[in-house]
């Protein structure tokens, strides 16, 4: 039985990484950054939130947008999963529904980069069971 030594492999990755990429410290002045929260409860995961999250994290970094992508629980909009909440600096948070990779791309290009609203916004007056009670 061959035991794979992940440790040695990891060291190799570290050395390769240290050549070019300088790891940034995020979250120090979070209110100046774009904040994206992806709902990652059972409903979100079953609808493809993992792909959406991976796409957002990779694309925002590659396209040079200073953003913090985090995960959150179910926001109560299970019918519209995957849902994401985007907060631009100094603006109110906006929740978008049915965010597949294509929609996420549109949100980055139009809303996050340009401040232009796109279809798929879940209005703030929508009531979850929690707020009704």
């Amino acid at each position: 039985m061959e035991k794979i030594r992940s440790l040695a492999d990891l060291k190799k990755i570290r050395d390769e990484n240290n050549k070019g990429v300088e790891l940034r410290k995020k979250g120090e002045d979070a209110d100046k950054l774009v904040q994206v929260k992806v709902a990652m409860a059972t409903c979100g995961i079953a609808s493809g939130a993992k792909e959406t999250m991976e796409f957002l994290a990779d694309s925002l970094e590659k396209r040079g947008v200073e953003a913090v992508v985090t995960q959150t629980g179910c926001m109560g909009y299970c019918y519209a999963e995957p849902t994401i909440e985007v907060t631009l600096p100094g603006r109110d948070p906006i929740v978008f529904g049915n965010v597949n990779v294509k929609k996420a791309d549109e949100i980055i290009e139009k809303y996050i980069k340009g401040g232009e609203l796109v279809d798929g916004i879940i209005p703030v007056n929508y009531e979850t069971i929690d707020s009704k009670e």
Binding site: I13, R14, I45, K50, M53, A57, C74, M75
Partner: protein, 191 residues
Amino acid sequence: MKEIALHMLDIAENSLDAGATKVELLLELTTGGMLEFSILDNGKGMDDETLKMTSDPFFTSRTTRRVGMGIPLLRQHAELAGGGLKTRSEKGKGTELKAVFVAGHPDIQPLGDIEGCWMMLAAMHNDVNIELRCSTPKGDFEISSELARQELEVEHLNESALRTELKRLIRNNLAAIGFTDGKIDKTILNS
């Protein structure tokens, strides 16, 4: 839920919500042809009554909705593939969940993107140790997020280039033990 890996991601969130500082994800293909998937955590645990309720889809600790389908869905998929689900928990100590599948069953879900799910958990939770251990009759492989952070001398693993490399490393190692492209290699099942 289309993949076992997605269940892994989903159930692990429960452990993290329970305040676990260590979450072990185990995926074992036994010589008897069973696929055993377990999650062990050192979170706050549950009393017997709560533990029984976890298989009830109309029970949840959330307030945003009235259903909780994570564990019921996993139980369903395990039973569909000729297996089942067991849970054990001790208040204040932690929780253990084990789902068993008949590996060659026609209705078993594919393993899916195991490396992606580990990576997401590891990248998002800097203060938790996420361990992944996979074993088959062909060999075993393990990786832990705490060790990865130490060895790579980084505070977090949430950097695109690093994530890509780590995922590739895990994917290659999984393929070497017969978990190839998100599936169980047919050749180890028949041997």
